[in-house]
Amino acid sequence: MPTHEKILLKNMDQPGYTGSLKDYEAVGGYQALRRVMKELAPADLIDIVKQSGLRGRGGAGFPTGVKWSFIPKDYTGPKYLCCNADESEPGTFKDRQLMERDPHQVLEGIAIACQAIGAETAYIYIRGEFRLGAKILEHAIDEARQARYLGENVLSSGVPIQVYVHAGAGAYICGEETALLESLEGKRGMPRVKPPFPATHGLYQKPTVVNNVETLANLPHIVTRGADWFASIGSPPKSTGTRIFCLSGHVKQPGNYEVPMGITFRELIYEHAGGMRGEKPLKAFIPGGASASFLTEAHLDVKLDFESVAQAGSMLGSGGVTVMEEGTSMVWAALRLMEFFYHESCGKCTPCREGSSWLVQVLQRIVDRRGRMEDLQVLADLCQNIVGRTVCAFGDAEIAPIVGTLQYWRNEYEDLIRESTAISTTSKELPVLALNS
């Protein structure tokens, strides 16, 4: 099995590493922050991150240094950093590990980002169910404050950096950056219409950067080891660094794997995750969280970088790779995902709100052997009528499972529907009428 140097999971892989401040300092923790506070002007820091090629790990893959540079330069009022720790994308569980096992790595990244954009306050918006992670972070913040890595006067630089943990209340949509801001402000978590963007009108309408946990955790390493080092890892120039891929589904060893971007899915699944758990061959996989469209065994040699996965018709997204073996009902899988999206649609936009409930009912009916051929056209049309017409990217995401399964496994839908016509005369369910009869 090829081995790759880990960056983010390196510390915690060491035996006996507890993630305490002492342990973190022992492996060189907070040296990057010292350098940032002493030697690096914010503009230079932003340049380093730009040169490193670091792209957001939250889903959209936006270049981090570029995002920071949108913060108005001459703005003198309060600015905010929000660490997106809402991690609710099905099949994604990397941020949780980063926070629970090496919290100071995240905090150091947060402090560095604050210094880059001139924010004195950072909020970690953490998924409500992550009680343990929140407790660990709170404790780590206390430690860091006492050691003056955070607090009123960071490392005697005169600069204050305060970090607060805020727990979400159980809505997936609050991972979307503007819904996150609304929720943080104490309002109902619903995405805002953009523009204006958070960089100018963010938290409390002030300039704000929202970055994912993993994105931020990379910063200390980039500062310490340099932009060139980081840019040489992975699949330069567009996909640099490592990513933590969360393997789940029918693999032998589910879990988090940090590998450089650019290795193939085949390597990830068969070498790192130990291959398929039974004897059955792989049928399908989701490459980047529930919002990413299914790929098939034909895509196993696609490289795990932003461009290659996009070219294959899906997206690298949040790094959640869910693998399904031969024999999995893809219609059922689509239904399962659609149920999630139906449950989580915030309800703001008509197409997403009504579309998700309509889609889920049609899928359920087909799975229940009560479908009809016209439903396939309805499914395709509804997806078409949702995509690109909503406030946030959730609308585009929720149709992914259906579009993908219709593309590769249309026959499974048709088989189920044929079974339904066969049993419809004896079914006790209400008859399903033909459309436009």
């Binding site: 989580e344 709100r353 017409r389």
Partner: protein
């Protein structure tokens, strides 16, 4: 000027039409300007865009996806297409989605026929649906006595929620649940507790929120509309009365119309049934020997009145008549009433309900700055950068003026200084002090000394207009001397407000460029009202704000036509204009026009009339729409005065306590049954239109005056109200109907000059002297008679809608006082003093200040007896809003 305007314009093309609109315009509005109506649900020009319904999608060249025209601002060279096939497709699909879960119960929906969803569906969608799944169904839930929700119909556009928050600042509504299960609910576990402005009902694009007052009673196409003006306060809101045959169905108002821009309060929206209350007097009544009333014909009644009036006039002269008219009447009626009193009966004893307080605002304005109207408009309130509200919880008395204040503070970030007895406590609605940037908590009897404190801060902190001392040295020195005679120690001790707080407020106000003072009933209807207003004008002069654009002092009119009553000459001191009663040229002109000699006797106001009635000099009174027996305390002996008359005529809607004393009662029409004009608090003259036929045999007041004059052989004949208005315009050139915005007079330079030179000295010996009314130890509570948002005078207590929100009075007191006395909400409490004892129900509220108890005036019939009557020496205003009482618990309540 023209050039700078051009720079702010952006040129774009919508469906091939090129247009230029101001920068920042939304695409949907730019399209409207070229006649392209883009269908929409969630967009509303009053609200910030939420872009949630996705109905308004358009193509904008160079942008990848379809864009929501309701949230996209125009840009130079933008090319917008709304008539291309895929935009059409997008609309159809949004409608298909909305209709998926919509119940399609149009036949039983009160919105059916005027529903945006229905209309767009007609336009865009096929008659069959592809949706064959189960529809989402919400269980029916009780919402409130007046507002009904039917959440299956909701399109989740959040207009209601945003309106309640952004416009009303009430925040009573919120979405609950997620996705398709999102419902609009109110926050509390108990029923909806809000201001009941009806705004959510009005703004809902579908039938998801409707009024219960007329539920299922009509179909929109049966309704016939009448645009008129609300009668419940001086704001003068535009209302549309909708009727089915002669049945009142609903009231609403239209965005973009009227001074209220379509916004209403509970009184305007739900209060319309007062006019059709079954107790309305249906026929003229004549009192019999046995003291009972008998129904009479108009001929009999009018002839009797004419004969009696003639007799008294011949025997005692015109001065034996007194006349009192309500400011709820139209301008035409007020004008005609004073013309009747002065011209036909020959009496200078004419007064109206403007006497109860509004004159305290007008008289100082006239003597200091020569105007009888505000020198500012509602628009100026919105644009103000500092507002000083004194003695008014404006949301309760003048809700729409209150909305302008809220807009100035919430959107324009104006400084808001409130000097009010209510405390800014959370948990109760309609409390303007919650929005204040600076709050001066002042007991209702301490406004005078608090105003002195404010002025003293201006003087002590060097906040005086720099040029003033050289421009008006005597004025400056005299005011300073008068103020200096009261020490800070005294001011702090009496008002309970610290010197710092005064000085912060004074600083805040003086730092403004557009500063306005809004004065409410707490000042205008309390002892020394006119003095306080004059002192506040001094404050404006001292801070250099007087006469500046967008600045001014604005007394709030409580009744809908208080302002008109003064302008029509329906108060003792004024002829129409208002011109001073003694003004020679005006008297001559009126004599000529009316073809009579005007009476020479000195004018006498309301309280003087009652006094003279008791002394036997006033023999007959003509009381129109007023009920002094009930509205003034028994200690005023009004009843005795009226009983001593030889002849009393009352013209009324209802058989009030006063009307019961009358010899003849003439049934009059309410505002919904007549034409005319009202002049609102900011001086806007607006048309009132008849919506329904007169109830019973009632007739508009003006018609009765006119008919009576004919019978008395001194005819004032008019075919319709408009003819009277023409005469008013000949007396007051240019009066009224000038346009959509009130004309704003500026202070008269010569009058101000005169005031600064010597006018200020008038009354100066007393008007800054701080006196203090000490409570006796056995009556420690100051009882204030206050106004409620849900009622207006007593008229509204006949409205079945408003009674469902508030049907009785309660004595309101502060939790700490309540605790001391062992009183809880719902307990019965005895309120007493030397005048008597009354038992009523207690309500404990955080916003009531300590040592104060409040009772709503609308339900004060029993508690009135505890109040005393004070008469202002100068303005002759009768004050009876405050008294000292003690409180004791009688019985535990059930709550």
């Amino acid at each position: 000027m023209a050039e700078s305007n051009n720079q702010d314009l952006v040129t774009l093309t919508v469906d091939g039409m090129t247009t230029s609109v101001p920068q920042g315009t939304l695409v949907i509005e730019a399209a409207r300007q070229v006649g392209v109506m883009i269908p929409h649900f969630c967009y509303h020009p009053k609200l910030t865009p939420d872009a949630n319904c996705r109905m308004c999608l358009v193509e904008i060249e160079k942008l990848p996806r379809l864009q929501t025209s309701c949230s996209t601002k125009v840009a130079e060279g933008m090319v917008v297409k709304s008539n291309v096939p895929h935009v059409d497709e997008a609309r159809k699909s949004v409608l298909e989605f909305i209709l998926a879960n919509h119940p399609l119960d149009c036949p039983v929906c009160d919105q059916g026929g005027r529903c945006d969803l229905q209309d767009f569906s007609h336009q865009y969608t096929p008659t069959t649906s592809r949706f064959t799944e189960l529809k989402r169904v919400f269980p029916k839930e009780y919402f409130s006595p007046l507002i009904e929700t039917q959440m299956n119909r909701c399109v989740q556009c959040m207009r209601c929620v945003r309106y309640c928050d952004q416009v009303m600042d009430v925040k009573a509504l919120a979405p609950s649940g997620r996705g398709t299960l999102t419902e609009i609910k109110h926050f509390s576990a108990h029923e909806l507790d809000c201001e009941f402005c009806g705004g959510c009902v009005q703004i809902c694009p579908v039938g998801a929120i409707t009024s219960r007052l007329s539920m299922y009673d009509f179909r929109p196409w049966m309704l016939k509309r009448t645009d008129t003006i609300c009668t419940y306060c001086g704001d003068g809101c535009h209302i549309t009365i909708q009727k089915k045959q002669d049945e009142l169905i609903e009231v609403n108002s239209t965005q973009g119309v009227g001074r209220n821009n379509g916004d209403l309060c509970a009184r305007g929206f739900f209060g319309y049934h007062a006019s059709v209350h079954p107790d309305r007097i249906m026929h003229p009544l004549i009192k019999q020997q046995d003291g009972r009333f008998a129904q009479a014909t108009w001929e009999e009644a009018l002839e009797l009145v004419a004969e009696k009036f003639q007799g008294i006039k011949t025997a005692f002269g015109g001065n034996a008549f007194g006349g009192l008219v309500t400011s709820r009447c139209t301008n035409e009626e007020l004008y005609l009433f004073q013309k009747f009193m002065r011209g036909v009966l020959g009496s200078n004893r004419v007064d109206s309900s403007a006497r109860f307080g509004h004159v305290n605002g007008t008289l100082p304005l006239l003597s200091v700055q020569g105007t009888h109207r505000w020198t500012a408009t509602f628009e100026d309130i919105v644009d103000a950068d500092a507002l000083l509200l004194i003695g008014t919880n404006i949301t309760e008395t003048n809700p729409i003026t209150g909305l302008k204040v809220k807009q100035a503070v919430k959107q324009g970030h104006a400084i808001l200084v409130t000097m009010e007895s209510l405390l800014p406590a959370r948990g109760t609605i309609s409390n303007i002090t919650l929005l204040a940037t600076h709050h001066l908590p002042v007991r209702p009897d301490h406004y005078h000394i608090a105003i002195v404190g404010l002025i003293k801060s201006v003087l002590d902190n060097g906040l005086v207009d720099p040029g003033l001392e050289t421009r008006a040295p005597e004025f400056f020195r005299a005011i300073k001397a008068a103020i200096d005679s009261t020490s800070w120690a005294h001011i702090e001790e009496v008002s309970g407000v610290s010197r710092e707080v005064f000085s912060q407020s004074a600083h805040a106000f003086s730092s403004s460029t557009r500063g306005m003072i809004i004065v409410g009933q707490g000042v205008l209807r309390s002892p020394r009202g006119a003095e306080m207003v004059t002192n506040l004008l001094d404050f404006l002069i001292l801070t250099g704000r007087h006469g500046q654009p967008g600045c001014g002092l604005c007394p709030l009119a409580e009744e809908n036509n208080d302002q008109g009553a003064i302008e029509m000459g329906a108060t003792a001191e004024f002829l129409p204009g208002p011109i001073a009663i003694g003004h020679h040229d005006t008297r001559q002109a009126l004599s000529k026009l009316w073809e009579v000699d005007l009476p020479q006797e000195p004018a006498s106001s309301l309280m003087e009339m009652f006094r003279d009635a008791q002394a036997g000099q006033v023999k007959a009174m003509y009381i129109v729409g007023e009920n002094p027996v009930e509205s003034l305390p028994q200690t005023g002996k009004i009843k005795e005065a009226l009983e001593s008359l030889e002849f009393l005529v009352c013209q009324e809607l209802f058989l009030t306590e006063t009307a019961q004393l009358a010899d003849v009662v003439l049934p009059a029409c309410s505002y919904v049954e007549k034409d005319g004009t009202f002049t609102n608090t900011e001086g806007m003259v607006q048309p009132v239109r008849q919506a329904i036929d007169p109830i019973g045999e009632s007739r508009p007041d003006w018609e009765i005056f006119s008919a009576l004059s004919v019978v008395m052989d001194q005819p004032m004949e008019y075919g319709e109200a408009r003819d009277i208005f023409k005469e008013i315009r000949s007396v007051i050139p240019g009066y009224g109907l000038v346009g959509p915005v009130a004309t704003r007079p500026t202070p008269k330079v010569d009058v101000v000059q005169q005031y600064l030179q010597e006018g200020f000295a008038h009354g100066l010996a007393t008007r800054y002297v701080c006196t203090q009314d000490q409570p006796a130890s056995d009556t420690p509570f100051l009882l204030a008679s206050t106004q409620s948002l849900f009622h207006s005078g007593k008229f509204s207590t006949r409205s079945k809608g408003l009674l469902q929100i508030q049907s009785s009075g309660a004595i309101m007191l502060n939790p700490s006082d309540a605790k001391k006395l062992g009183i809880a909400s719902g307990d019965s409490v005895c309120v007493s003093n030397a005048h008597g004892a009354v038992t009523t129900i207690a309500r404990v509220l955080n916003r009531i200040p300590p040592d104060v108890a409040c009772f709503p005036e609308h339900f004060d019939q029993d508690i009135r007896c505890l109040f005393e009557l004070h008469i202002d020496k100068e303005s002759h205003v009768p004050y009876s809003k405050l008294t000292w009482v003690r409180l004791e618990r009688v019985e535990k309540g059930d709550v």
